[in-house]
Symmetry: C2
Subunit: 437 residues, 2 copies
Amino acid sequence: MAAPLKVGLAGLGTVGASVVRLIAEQQQMLQQRCGRPIKIVAVTARSRGKKRGIDMSGMRWVEDPIKLATDPGIDAFVELVGGAGNPARAAVIAALKAGKSVVTANKALLAECGLDLAQLAERQKVALNFEAAVGGGIPIIKTLREGLAGNAVTRIYGILNGTCNYMLTRMERERLSFDECLKEAQRLGYAEADPSFDIEGHDTAQKLSILASLTFGIQVDPEAIYVEGITSITTADLEAADQLGYRIKLLGVAVKTDKGIEQRVHPTFVRKDAAIAQVMDVTNAVTIDAEGIPPITLVGPGAGGMATASAVVADVADVARGVRASPFGRPSGDLKVSKKAPMQRHEGGYYIRMLAVDKPGTAAAITKRLAQYKISMESIVQRHSSPAGGAERGKGPVPVILITYATTEDAVRKALAAVQRDKVISGRPQLIRIEKN
Amino acid sequence: MAAPLKVGLAGLGTVGASVVRLIAEQQQMLQQRCGRPIKIVAVTARSRGKKRGIDMSGMRWVEDPIKLATDPGIDAFVELVGGAGNPARAAVIAALKAGKSVVTANKALLAECGLDLAQLAERQKVALNFEAAVGGGIPIIKTLREGLAGNAVTRIYGILNGTCNYMLTRMERERLSFDECLKEAQRLGYAEADPSFDIEGHDTAQKLSILASLTFGIQVDPEAIYVEGITSITTADLEAADQLGYRIKLLGVAVKTDKGIEQRVHPTFVRKDAAIAQVMDVTNAVTIDAEGIPPITLVGPGAGGMATASAVVADVADVARGVRASPFGRPSGDLKVSKKAPMQRHEGGYYIRMLAVDKPGTAAAITKRLAQYKISMESIVQRHSSPAGGAERGKGPVPVILITYATTEDAVRKALAAVQRDKVISGRPQLIRIEKN
């Protein structure tokens, strides 16, 4: 029998403990699939004494993660410590330098220094696998790296953050306010005590930067991403979306344009009949558009101990089988610096919701400004809040909801600034991009 | 630069021509991804003279597919001839025997002799890749073979036939009869002149046999599959499904039971909010259930020249990169003979539609028979066709629609046979299985 792959595992939280369990339970199947056994021979975690309900017999405890990463007794290092800083970063670098293949779920680390790590892995001729870093249990990394090798992908977009999708789902279904919903999500453990990393879109942006690199052969660069979170979304927006045949999803989108690769994270109107619009609660999904073929969508659990662990184990199995692809699908020397397509030149349709001052000439003033910036409207709805309609004229601002045909971010921003200067609306207009699908 | 992978391609229909085009167009990207160029050096097809609109300069024409398969000038053989018989079969065997890696889209060939081919490929230490054989452009084979290596999959099910899904979608949306819909599908090229292979479920069964092998480590065996097509589905069934919160899809299902692996193809009630229920028209989808994690669903084009070609090219790219997995995910010597779970022992809910004779005691007779076989009902709807309801009693048979809780195929069959013997229904009852999701 072939020699076992000896694994050192750092981090024994929910995911790490599930990895230990899964490898023990699936020992036989893994051996068949890989042609050799997989053995976790050494582990480390913050607290040695903690009860984890897993069998760690036969595993050495190594106090220092970096010692573990370079341990002569291991062939591969699994990093589940998390965070872009140390010890995760130092341990991963040490493992690669020591010629160990690395499996990690650490999106922050990859977003921050993915290129450097990929270069190091290539130089050392070892694997750097990170299926679990994006989309949890969805095999999106392998699909982009190896499964769609011949496809000229033109766009990739996805629901990459379970917290945001959970909140948008509940807000839509139950007409809850953002704040009520956030409290619920926190109570149920779907949102962190400090939720800003999720709800401001930064988690999605880190994941998108990894997908964009794999898809378009560019260097990972979260700084190139325009990021907008979901904090401004109101039930009024969700109701309007519903009536217009859309749902609102926080999407990460990377698209090839003639100005470069446009990368953006923002709440998005998606047509209800699109596959991605059906994705509810904490579920994640990624849609891939390639030239000449209908879209491919992968849907599944974006988080959770077992789902993430199963992605980690699949990565370890690839190491055991001796499969080694370029971490980002192409040799890192071929990865180009992403030419950032400026957001001002983004082209697409827009949903705009404004509170119009209820006096004669308001609609004319708004439509005039839009025409000035060559924005065509697909629909306009002006709703008097009183059921009596016009009879109540003059009693307060009136919601106006617009859907535009494709235009540019620049034109919309300028038109709305002009409308504000005209003092025909009260407050700031709400602006949500429409993604064609 | 590394030596190119030299490819011989047999079959220049829609898919073959698209493969030639795709490899030419994506030459540079493929080279980056594989570390070496991919070159089609020789081709064959039924008719040499046919205009195909592709550039075949630099490609030798070899008249005999078997000569091409064993040509010393090629490293890999791509078989797009189709059919389980010769020349496809002989050419694939010849290529493997000559030590060439093989890429094929031929589901019929794999269903019929997949195990033999896998054994031969393993003995020769070459690849046998067939991503395009199931689910067209959806990377389901690679996902099952490599991407979910650590998952203990308990069930896999999918919409694997575009023709059937197209017909069910149109019947549902437009309340078309089966026959009208079939004519439309034939007119649009979505159904063959002889549609029986598709609509009777055999195409789905061939594909399911391949997925089941990869998923459960069993030998490919389409004979082990219970197969029922969609020809009995009426608009009355689709309307009832809609009202009860379901859609009807032709599914291929393979599930681990304590009696063995149950493999079946039949029209199925699926809950409207399941990902698979959203899959419309010719689109395909596969859902994978594994222990302890939410389902993973892959959705995409099940057919079409470019979609299928992209899967073929991804397979060729794996050959170029030197990736070689066991064709069915495990060494063929480890693949077990599938213990066929008898369909009579299938457990699940059922939709039953009957035409009850309109006389006193009918409902009592039906419910008595169901109770006799320990079948519990979730719902029962009896609809008098006249809007006046009871006033028209005695004027003809009355549709009765039942949804049962989980029971066995055996119990349902016996109960319905008894109901028929009781002469309280007219004609044969309609029976559609409900798939939990």
